[in-house]
Symmetry: C5
Subunit: 86 residues, 5 copies
């Protein structure tokens, strides 16, 4: 999974019908290349600036109530920035 910071939201009025009901969040990777911002779907209500745990690819489906074309999904909100070596 990837740790990332919520940077904003994406609004799409014309979208695939089984994306309806998901919030679409811009996520900046916490480690590695910060410029590689991607979009993750969310149902936890993560807010801007929060650090989240995102799962990717087809494994997102195991966090959903119904199948959806989502390749990145917020599966956790992180309590505090991690400290390496602890």
């Amino acid at each position: 999974m990837i740790l990332g910071t919520i940077m904003g939201t994406v609004v799409s009025t014309r979208k695939c019908r089984n994306l309806v009901g998901f919030k679409l969040l811009l996520v900046e990777p916490y480690y590695g290349e910060k410029k590689n911002i991607f979009v993750a779907a969310d149902t936890m209500g993560a807010g801007i600036g929060e650090l989240v745990l995102v799962t990717t690819d087809n494994t997102t489906q195991f966090a959903l109530d119904r199948s959806a074309p989502i390749d990145a999904f917020v599966v956790g909100i992180v309590d505090a920035p991690p400290q390496l070596g602890k």
Copy 2:
């Protein structure tokens, strides 16, 4: 998912039969390495210059009416360029 800008179309006369009926679009990543242009299938009618949301890998199948060898699919047209921090 990835945000990308439609840069053109790809024409392939000799192609896999279950790709027939999909428009094949060149997509430039909006964030990260812009040179990594890829091809996404589309049925929404996204036009050149539009900003779209693309899902990847096997999760594309949940946006399709029938299974197809498509690893990138346009699942939404974005209303306006996102603003970081909002």
Copy 3:
């Protein structure tokens, strides 16, 4: 999907039995890092120098008659090099 140019073939006598019958092609990415040459399976008869459309990951299975351990498969031969903005 990825656009790529056929650069050569790979010959493997000792291989997984359900790879028998596929041509194995070296593909150079048309966009992005050209040095990241990979191997795609083909049944369309794409030749050296031709520009092809390759699907990746598990979605390859939807282009095959039977399941096979193939993570990149030629799903189309492109008519002409794409022109950005058209």
Copy 4:
């Protein structure tokens, strides 16, 4: 699979219910870009500083007792740092 070194843990109180029971570990790649630290789930009890083998994507599911939205999972603890050429 990827070889990585355990660098720390991630604590997430608000998380997807089928992530409960997994330890979430920060993993630094042993080869390649060390800055690309990612999060892997673990049930083996790998400790900080240990070298582990991590499988990714949907293949994680074959190591789990029940499906879970986990795209990186510790499948082995490595006995000793590998030596190239041996």
Copy 5:
């Protein structure tokens, strides 16, 4: 698929039970970033220095007798180093 050179082996005594019986090989990519060494499972008996064809992600499962948490698997031993343009 990826072409790679076998650079060594990985020994893991404490591992997931459905990894038992597979040899774990260190593989250096033949093209692209050689430093991105990864681990592939093998049942063909590929030896150090040999050039192999590796399939990735979930497609590995179609080369296995039983499902296993393996995201890279040796599916062929290459007869000779490929020559570009031939």
